[in-house]
């Protein structure tokens, strides 16, 4: 049960990532369009005003986003948005690793200390250079939601496991009852016939009891010291 819940939680996290990535896809469509329009007008993509506008609009709609980077396959950053104006300290690394990951597929995810990043290939510009976008979401924004789910799942688990264990225990007890009585009898007969040496009457003893007496006799009377196996 625990394993199941644990793994389900993981699966949930995966789904959240998937959904957020697909949201990034919607943003990317917007960016792509803006770029195509600008190019048709002959504008240069670097530091394009329209890009800045779009990025700000995106950040407006989705407050979980901390930073957005648009860069080309050579690693040059074409446009960016920084909500807190903190400036990303490890920009170059993020861009470089994004470019590496972009070789494996059109979208990718990366994790930094404070952020979760969803990257995707945006489009190819008129002169053939590939342009990528990276959306860095604030990690904390996700945490609170995830905590709630975690809590709920654990509660659910306990809520179900508790009574189940109880029922199970009960049933097992019932199943083992017949054996229990047999065991008790064994214990009793061993103690009385073997240990205490009571003999009693034939009707009182079971076959087991008989064997106990027999063995006791053998043991006290004579014992085979041979190492041979009798069977």
């Amino acid at each position: 049960m625990g394993v199941l819940v644990f793994l389900s939680y993981f699966k949930y996290l995966n789904l959240v990532e998937e959904f957020t990535s697909s949201q990034a896809a919607a943003f990317s469509a917007d960016l792509k369009q803006t770029a195509l329009k600008a190019e048709t007008l002959g504008l240069k993509l670097e530091n394009l005003e329209q890009f800045k506008e779009v990025l700000e609009r995106i950040a407006d709609k989705e407050d979980r986003i901390a930073t957005i980077l648009i860069f080309n396959s050579r690693g040059k950053i074409i446009s960016q948005f920084d909500r807190n104006q903190t400036g990303l300290t490890y920009e170059k690394d993020i861009v470089a690793s994004s470019i590496m990951k972009s070789k494996a597929g059109n979208t990718w995810t990366l994790f930094t200390e404070k952020n979760v990043g969803f990257g995707r290939y945006l489009f190819t510009d008129m002169i053939g250079t590939k342009i990528f976008g990276l959306f860095l979401y604030d990690r904390e924004a996700f945490q609170s939601e995830n905590k709630v789910i975690k809590r709920d799942l654990i509660a659910l688990c306990l809520f179900v496991v508790g009574p189940s264990v109880f029922i199970l225990a009960l049933m097992i007890f019932l199943i083992f009852r017949p054996i229990q009585s047999a065991y008790n009898q064994i214990r009793e007969e061993t103690t009385s016939y073997f240990v205490d040496g009571i003999v009693g009457t034939p009707s009182q003893r079971s076959e087991y009891g008989e064997s106990m007496i027999e063995i006791r006799d053998l043991l006290q009377g004579r014992k085979s010291t041979s190492q041979d196996e009798v069977r």
């Binding site: 048709t40 002959g42 053939g128």
Partner: protein
């Protein structure tokens, strides 16, 4: 004493320029020969290098539409021996480079790495062997005309036409070539294609008064769209030809901006010069930083072209663009 002073002064006046020159000499030189000033292509070429432009010495020579100046350029280039030569436009490129198979080392530049740009038809002008390979070791360049296939596909994205008509004047080589190119493209796409040739006067030049009638004639064949290829004549008389088309309710597509912007063609598919400049700069980058041989670099063309739509014409024809095209086009009103 005077001798010392003179010596010192000489040193200063000779030393500094030489110093400056040698400093300049440690940078690489790019010589740009342009036809009508350093316009968008030239500017965006330089701009492409961003901060790295400091590494270069840009020498810009403007012919100012005067062919006679080009000879001087050739001489200057031979003296200066720049690391790269950039030529703008057909006239400049032709005069400076000569024909690909018969360039004369005395009159033309044959041993300096060169990138040509804004040449409407390099093959037709003899500057390049094919549209992909220049055919000579020191030359590469860019194509700015959208290929016929792209033109046709853009037209079809406006409307999925099944028939296309073309009007042309047969005295221009590039006009004839563009007809052939479009014919081939139409065949591939399964579009039926017909042409109408402008009647010529006794000197073999197209008659201006036949423009209207030619359009009438082709309208009678009922093409869904009319296409104007590369033709200086029709470009010059754009107002006539585009209003003729409008009169005949024929949507007109062209391979240049000006027919849409400054006349009433409906659809234009063309390259922005600023994009071409960047493209040429990419070639320059390969040559100067990548140490590539120009002749080994294929002639570059754009991945995508600018689309222009004249909305007034659309209204007049009651033929509006689909949203998918509208979104990424420049709208002219």
């Amino acid at each position: 004493m005077t001798k010392v002073i003179v010596a010192l002064l000489a040193a200063v006046f000779v030393w500094n320029p030489i110093n400056a020159m040698s400093k300049a000499a440690s940078k690489q030189t790019i010589y740009m020969a342009v036809w009508r000033g350093c316009e968008e292509a030239c500017k965006s070429f330089i701009d492409f290098f961003g901060d790295r432009r400091q590494k270069f010495n840009f020498i810009i020579r403007d012919a100012g539409r005067d062919k006679s100046k080009l000879e001087d350029f050739v001489d200057e280039i031979k003296i200066l021996r720049p690391d790269l030569l950039v030529t703008w436009g057909t006239s400049v490129s032709k005069r400076l480079l000569g024909k690909w198979d018969s360039a004369d080392p005395n009159r033309h530049i044959t041993n300096i790495p060169t990138v040509f740009m804004i040449v409407a038809d390099p093959v037709g002008a003899g500057i390049s062997k094919t549209n992909r390979w220049s055919g000579r070791v020191n030359v590469t360049g860019t194509l700015n005309r959208a290929p016929a296939k792209t033109q046709l596909q853009t037209i079809r994205s406006y409307r999925p036409i099944k028939s296309l008509g073309m009007v042309y004047n047969d005295n221009e080589l590039n006009a004839r070539l563009s007809v052939d190119a479009m014919r081939k493209a139409a065949q591939v796409e399964g579009v039926s294609f017909f042409v109408e040739r402008l009647k010529n006067d006794q000197n073999g030049r197209p008659r201006i008064d036949d423009i209207d009638h030619a359009v009438e004639r082709i309208a009678a064949k009922n093409p869904e769209f009319l296409y104007l290829g590369s033709s200086s004549f029709l470009t010059k008389y754009r107002k006539r030809v585009t209003s003729a088309a409008l009169k005949q309710k024929l949507p007109l597509a062209a391979g240049s901006e000006v027919l849409v912007r400054k006349a009433t063609a409906l659809l234009g598919v063309a390259a922005k010069y600023s994009s071409i400049g960047r493209l040429a700069a990419m070639q320059a980058q390969d040559i100067l930083f990548g140490k590539k041989i120009p002749g080994d670099l294929p002639i570059k063309k754009l991945d995508r072209y600018s689309v222009l739509i004249n909305l007034n014409t659309a209204k007049g024809l009651d033929l509006y663009p689909p949203i998918s095209l509208l979104k990424i086009s420049e709208i002219i009103r």
